[in-house]
């Protein structure tokens, strides 16, 4: 019996020793996190590698392995791995809404972490970019927005006054006509990329009712009619490049910025990435918000990158450590100081050197406006309904419709738009 007792004690001791040893090994072995990212005007390869190096040197328990993907292939790579349900990165940019269901809900992690507080981010970006179906599916990294960039040299050469930030859509059309020079293939301004974006909202137009019940009285409202007629007027100034021109010039949708940098487009609706391009090229430019109707709420098409953790990660705690470093104050400050990121955290944004410049200040003013995404996020059927009514957009852009026919055409599109809306609402479960 004594022998058995000794053997049992020995076995217990061995098990205990093994456990302690393996725990010790586990404690020493750092967890490696897979992180996928892209290079952009705001953070290039070098600055991101430096950020990873800094994090890895400061953390012995978590190490980050960075995979840099080309922007043009990022979607395909993410779709494939998320579709396969394996091999997806622990941390990545989840910039397509379809990927949100596969992002980890961070609510609990944020609640238990004193370092991250939703209130530390710009509220507009937090609400529109990381809150999804009552979950928090990421942290907003940086900010971006559309605004109108105008080429001061071209305005000076044409003897035209710079646009006032308080300008109206009619002012825009007038300036386009004054600045265009058909002989020199110079355009005054570009056309909007689609309806029911900032200018439509600034004119008070909405695609359908807030409760998603109907498009009647919305698609064909006086405000919508006015917005479409404004577009008709713009097209008929003959001072804008056609969508076909831009397709030919920019296979990657880069036409407007390319023309702007070549002094062939006096005004273009661009973003902070383009602003950086213009600065690098030494362009003399200014920025103003998209035109609006005085008295109406003014909107901006703005965004932030959604930095998320994949729900299938085996290391959520370690992934969270990296995510909050990358998209938290420390990482955003690093990317701002060493790259060109414009942070989404006001306390860091205050330190942005660009804020002292004229266009930097104008950019910050734009961020204060109501976001287009605020309405869009609450109305997920917008894209479906827009597809049902895209004919009128094409007809106007191709100059195939008379101005006075626009109200009747919109009236005629209401049944198809309503059908699309009802189908979508039903599909999404009401």
């Amino acid at each position: 019996m004594r022998i058995y007792g000794r053997m049992a004690a020995l076995a217990l001791l061995s098990v205990a020793l093994l456990t302690v040893t393996s725990l010790g090994v586990l404690a020493q072995e750092p967890v490696t996190i897979e992180w996928w990212t892209v290079a952009s005007e705001e953070f290039d390869e070098e600055v991101q590698r430096a950020l990873v190096e800094k994090f890895n040197s400061e953390h012995t328990d978590v190490q980050v392995n960075m995979t840099l993907l080309p922007s043009s292939g990022y979607d395909e790579r993410m779709q494939t791995t998320l579709g396969a349900g394996q091999g997806a990165p622990d941390v990545a940019l989840f910039w397509i809404t379809n990927w949100y269901p596969q992002a980890l809900d961070l609510t609990e992690l944020i609640e238990n972490d004193p370092d991250i507080d939703p209130d530390m981010y710009l509220p507009g970006f937090w609400n529109t970019r990381v809150v999804w179906e009552d979950k928090i599916i990421g942290l907003p990294l940086g900010v971006g927005a559309n605004f109108v960039m105008y080429n001061k040299d071209m305005f000076d050469a044409a003897g035209v006054e710079y646009p006032d930030p308080d300008w109206t859509p009619e002012d825009y059309n007038r300036l386009v006509a004054e600045l265009a020079n058909a002989e020199q293939r110079v355009w005054g301004g570009d056309r909007p990329r689609g309806p029911y974006r900032a200018i439509w909202y600034n004119m008070g137009a909405r695609l359908y009712a807030d409760d998603s019940s109907t498009t009647e009285g919305y698609l064909n409202s006086p405000e919508s009619v006015a917005a479409y007629q404004w577009l008709w007027d713009l097209v008929n100034t003959n001072g804008t490049p056609t969508p076909a021109d831009l397709e030919v010039l920019g296979t990657e949708g880069t036409g407007p910025v390319d023309l702007f940098l070549a002094d062939r487009l006096a005004m273009a609706t661009l973003n902070q990435g383009h602003m950086l391009n213009a600065m690098a090229e030494g362009k003399n430019f200014g920025i103003v918000p998209e035109p609006h109707i005085p008295g109406n709420t003014r909107h901006v098409n703005a965004w932030s990158l959604t930095a998320s953790i994949w729900a299938g990660t085996e290391h959520p705690e370690a992934a969270w450590k990296w995510l909050k470093y990358w998209a938290g104050p420390e990482g955003q400050r690093f990317l701002m100081e060493n790259g060109n990121l414009i942070p989404s955290i006001p306390s860091v944004l205050e330190e942005w050197e660009g804020a002292e410049t004229e266009y930097g200040q104008a950019f910050l003013d734009v961020l204060e406006l109501e976001q287009v995404a605020a309405w869009d996020n609450e109305h997920p059927c917008k894209a479906t309904v827009l597809r049902a009514v895209e004919d009128i957009w094409d007809l106007i852009n191709l100059n195939q419709i008379a101005r006075e026919d626009i109200p009747a055409t919109l009236d005629g599109l209401v049944p198809a738009a309503d059908a699309a809306l009802q189908e979508c609402v039903g599909r999404l479960g009401g």
Binding site: V38, S71, G73, E76, T80, T81, Q86, G87, T254
Partner: protein, 305 residues
Amino acid sequence: MSQSKDLGPLIAAEAGDSRNRAITSAINGVTARRWLGYGAVYVVLTAIAIVFMIPLLWMFATSLKSRSEIFAWPPSWIPEQPLWSNYAMAFEKYPLARFMMNTSVLVIFNIIGELLAVPLIAYGFARLNFPFKRVLFILMLSTMMIPGQIKLIPLYSIYSRLGLVNTYVPLVLPAFFGNPFFIFLMVQYIRTIPRDLDEAARIDGAGTWTILYRIILPLCKPVLAVMIVFTFLWVWNDFLQPLIYLNDFYSYPISVGLAFFRGRYSVEWNLFMAATLVSILPVLVLYFFAQRHLIGGIASLGLKG
């Protein structure tokens, strides 16, 4: 009479001369017409070649321009001040030489794989008899009808489970199992080779392997050339597969590497064109040296495009 007799040879000689002159002038006329014909053909062909060269020339011109000059109006073929530094900048920005070397490795292994697998499979289908041969052949051909995108996720899943993601194996391994398109080509080609050659070799004591490697393969040079060139081009230009399977930046091939010149908001066209021009040089060189085989191969196979 005697005078005329005396003059006879002279007249005859003159007549001969004039006949010769007529023949010479006729020949000269034909030659001149032929040369004119050649000249016209060459002029037309040169004009067509220039048209085809325009994108390449534009690419070259763009690679030497400043960013704002690219979209200037009126467009210029010759840059105001050629910026050769664009080439250096493109190479400084990304490790293009490394990317091209990676592509070369992929090309070589893919070609080896195809050269090993395709003749074996094609010979089997063309010459050997085995159960379900026709069904298997149709099944093999039917895999060509499946779009690559459909296979992407299942294949990724398999390679991921095997731990082969972020290696070159998924990009090379399929070549060692043959490409249905090449197999089909080679089967058709082998079928045109008389069976008498196989039978003669067999009478001389050759086995199946010997017949394949000593009789059939040497006669298949045109189709093998087509295989090599097409594999080279496909692998050199393949963007999606390496993008899906590789993680390590320094293991990317040139097709993926070039995509880095497209930013999120804009494209550095001048650097992009410089890098692209350099990246297509090996393809042009290959075409230059292999065009005779390629054209011969394509003609003998009845391929287009």
